[in-house]
């Protein structure tokens, strides 16, 4: 199956990458941008059944991909 993990910063954490993009969009003349948020998306192809796959990916997300102090993640099954 295919599983998507989407990671974003928690609301009160400043996102330097997004800020730089916003600033540069303003410099290049785009006038209508109020805010930019950056996300990180991983896609996994797995071999186990649905529950085991989800558990494994959740563990990977928690142990290796994110720090709960600054980030939150969402797991989604995208295998049609």
């Amino acid at each position: 199956m295919r599983i998507k993990v989407q990671i974003k910063y928690l609301p009160n954490v400043e996102d330097p990458e997004a800020l730089s993009i916003k600033r540069n969009l303003e410099l290049t003349g785009y006038r209508g941008i109020k805010n930019v948020y950056s996300y990180k998306i991983y896609e996994f192809e797995t071999t186990l059944d649905k529950n085991d796959s989800m558990d494994e990916i959740r563990e990977i997300a928690e142990k290796l991909l994110t720090n709960p102090v600054i980030q939150e993640y969402k797991i989604e099954d995208i295998s049609e």
Partner: protein, 749 residues
């Protein structure tokens, strides 16, 4: 408004604990405000909590720092232990600026942001002296890389700390040239991140961290002030508790893309002579920076907090005052120069605002929306208590112990080379840009491309029009300091000194970053004081100045860390074209061992592997170190390469010399005193390996005097051959050994 003047002890106690103050301190506050006949406002209480935290006012260490470390100057130091960083003469016109600081607590909670903002903060410390930052240094202490207990796995911590340093340093465009990485399970979940920065400034452009001119405008520039990073210092002055939700506010990521133009703008304004005083906004935010800068210059100020540019519109005034948002600088300028600085800031796209002006008065006044919300004597606000903490010598039975020998030396050495503390640091350091700015002469790695070895010290050439260079090395020997804080610190300093010598430089100055456990523990305090005493004795014996430093207490989770005094040692080299590097330069050159390898394995990696518990550490011989210095200086022209004997002992030093080249070594250790394992693995003493040009051997021997010199072998075309009493301990292809050494960290980073 806090009600404290008529409060009950229980209520005071609760309030104190919420603010990170002790009961005695809140009683001091109550008495002060009782004298004023009113209760403190929110901002007054918060400002004091910041100003009196361990991190800001060094209340546990101040007394002892003063006793041992004041006055360790020399005739070429310009500012030592006074402002935000040390300033030392480099040549007639220029000075270098240096500082090292710990960022341990933030890095334990959020390794990436903690390490990145550690780098960002140390850059500001150097920038605020008016100096162009030219080099970064990072000494890191991690737990057992296989540890998976705790909130974050050790691998996560290691990789994210390294990523934070990489992303900040590389993007801001300052090379990360030197440092160290140690592993010990004692640091599980509580990594130490010590970041250092070196800058260069014209002597007449040094800016003080103080303002003594009345009527100057006070400006905050760079990043905006937000709710992020509130209470960082109070939290750095506490012991970390797993799962403590309140720690979360203190986390920030750092933004090097704002910092880079800020550096340009500040330096341009400084070149134009606009800046009268400057300080960086770090721990304690505006509260610390404004109070300290005004107080140091005998001034005071009126601050209008509404003028501070904010990220969040709904911040409380006290939050604005204590926020530790990154990338901000605080400066004082003459009102007549406002147009000029406005032009410079606009050119670089830097936001700024005028938040107040200096006045001559004992009291600091803060206004918010027309209302006076703080009116207190600066001396009280910045003073803080000073503690003469109890100290007690740990009662330990001291006995000498011998390490057992491995059953099979060859097998042991194979295994040893890939241990995290011994193996190559490529996987970590190659992530850092160590050549940006184009002034790195001797890099962290040296030798044939793709076959490099570790340098003893890195060398930079900070000025375009001069060949004079700065040699940089940083590290600590916590396993030794843990056995004996005084002698362990001595050996740490001795190693730093040797690293500068072996790079061809002359040691010039020392910076400390002292990482310890809980100062309320008398035994910790004893180790801390012993460390200070050692630094003092070492500086006096060698004539080196101690120019700046930092103390970090409360580094403990369930267990206290090993006392870790990290020493950044700087050296000067007249001409960088005379630099020496570690790798063997040719076959058939004689190899000498200068100085002494103390036949004792205390504090060594060998001992850690064997699980031996040592309780005694031999003394460091500083007289012999001075003799080594003289010998090397006199015979410098005949030396091809040098490497000091330190982590891993003689065997690792020999191998590292070979690993950077295509050449081998052929060595006989019979004549070196001690048992076989002591000869090969002892990390103590003044021992230095020297490769001498074969045609100059006689001249070398004539010029090198005052210290024992032993010929231990020759360099060879290839292969490692090591023998004792006619028997080979190791004969091996260098490539095989190199592979083990090179890939040691592959499992983790």
């Amino acid at each position: 408004m806090y009600s404290i003047i008529n409060s009950t002890p229980d209520k005071l106690r609760a309030l104190a604990s919420g603010l990170g103050l002790t009961y005695d301190e809140i009683v001091m506050l109550r008495n002060y405000f009782t004298g004023l006949g009113r209760n403190p406002t929110d901002i007054e209480i918060q400002a004091i909590a910041q100003g009196w935290s361990e991190h800001s006012c060094y209340k546990s260490s101040k007394l002892y720092l003063k006793k041992y470390l004041s006055g360790l100057k020399s005739d070429y130091t310009i500012l030592t232990m006074e402002d935000d960083a040390g300033v030392i003469s480099f040549d007639d016109e220029n000075a270098y600026v240096v500082k090292m600081e710990s960022h341990n607590h933030p890095s334990a909670i959020e390794p990436y942001g903690g390490a990145a903002t550690g780098v960002g903060g140390i850059i500001r410390d150097v920038l605020c002296m008016g100096a162009q930052p030219v080099a970064l240094v990072d000494s890191l202490y991690f737990g057992d890389p296989d540890n998976t207990e705790g909130q974050l796995t050790e691998r996560f911590i290691i990789n994210r700390v390294v990523a934070g340093i990489r992303d900040y340093g590389n993007r801001v465009g300052i090379p990360t040239v030197a440092g160290s990485v140690n592993f010990n399970s004692i640091y599980n979940g509580i990594p130490l991140v010590n970041a250092g920065c070196i800058g260069i400034v014209r002597k007449d452009h040094v800016v003080r961290s103080r303002i003594s001119i009345e009527g100057d405008l006070l400006i905050v520039c760079g990043g905006r002030t937000g709710r992020d990073g509130i209470h960082g210092v109070n939290f750095a002055s506490k012991i970390l508790n797993a799962g403590d939700e309140s720690n979360r506010n203190a986390v920030q990521l750092g933004n090097p893309i704002i910092k880079e133009p800020l550096i340009h703008a500040i330096l341009e304004a400084n070149d134009a002579g606009i800046i009268d005083g400057m300080k960086d906004l770090g721990g304690g935010g505006l509260s610390s920076a404004v109070s300290e800068m005004l107080f140091a210059g005998g001034m005071s100020g009126v601050i209008e907090l509404d003028k501070v540019l904010l990220k969040d519109t709904n911040m409380e005034p006290w939050e604005i005052w204590v926020s530790e948002s990154q990338e901000r600088m605080f400066l004082a300028i003459n009102p007549s120069r406002l147009m000029e600085i406005d032009d410079i800031f606009n050119k670089w796209g830097i936001e700024y605002s005028i938040i107040g002006k200096t006045i001559k008065s004992p009291n600091l006044v803060i206004k918010y929306r027309g209302e006076k919300i703080l009116d207190m004597e600066l001396s009280f606000l910045t003073g803080g208590p000073v503690y003469a903490r109890n100290f007690k010598k740990p009662e330990l039975e001291k006995k000498s112990i011998m390490d057992r020998e491995p059953e099979n030396y060859r097998k042991f050495i194979f295994d040893f080379l890939s241990k995290p503390n011994i193996c190559a640091r490529f996987n970590i350091v190659r992530q850092y840009d160590f050549t940006v700015r184009g002034s790195t002469i001797v890099k962290p790695f040296t030798g044939i491309p793709n076959m490099e070895t570790h340098s003893d010290a890195s060398i930079i050439k900070p000025l375009e029009n001069s060949f004079q260079g700065l040699c940089i090395t940083s590290g600590s020997r916590p396993e030794m300091v843990g056995i004996d804080a005084y002698n362990g610190t001595m050996h740490t300093l001795l190693e730093g000194y040797k690293n500068i010598l072996s790079s061809g430089g002359i040691p010039h100055s020392i910076v400390d970053a002292l990482n310890f456990g809980n100062p309320e523990n008398p035994e910790t305090m004893y180790r801390f004081i012993e460390t200070l005493r050692a630094i003092s004795d070492f500086c006096r014996a060698t004539g080196l100045p101690l120019v700046s430093g930092n103390v970090s207490f409360y580094n403990e989770a369930e267990k206290e860390i090993l006392p870790t005094p990290n020493m950044l040692v700087l050296g000067k080299i007249k001409d960088i074209r005379d630099s020496k590097t570690v790798e063997v330069k040719g076959a058939g050159n004689p190899l000498y061992l200068a100085g002494t390898i103390i036949p004792d394995l205390a504090g060594s990696q060998y001992s850690s592997e064997m699980g031996t518990v040592h309780t005694m550490l031999p003394e460091a011989n500083i007289k012999e170190l001075m003799a080594l210095h003289d010998g090397i200086v006199k015979s410098m022209d005949y030396i091809k390469s040098m490497h000091d004997i330190s982590g891993g002992g003689l065997i690792v030093a020999l191998l590292e010399m070979s690993f950077g080249s295509r050449f081998g070594v052929d060595v006989d250790v019979t004549e070196i005193p001690g048992r076989t394992n002591e000869k090969l693995f002892s990390e103590l003493g003044t021992g230095m390996l020297i490769e001498v040009a074969s045609e100059n051997e006689e001249k070398f021997l004539k010029s090198f005097s005052g210290i024992r010199l032993r010929k231990i072998g020759m360099t060879s075309k290839n292969g490692i051959r090591l023998k004792e009493k006619g028997r080979y301990i190791l004969t091996e292809n260098a490539e095989t050994l190199r592979h083990l050494w090179e890939t040691g960290l592959d499992r983790y980073v």
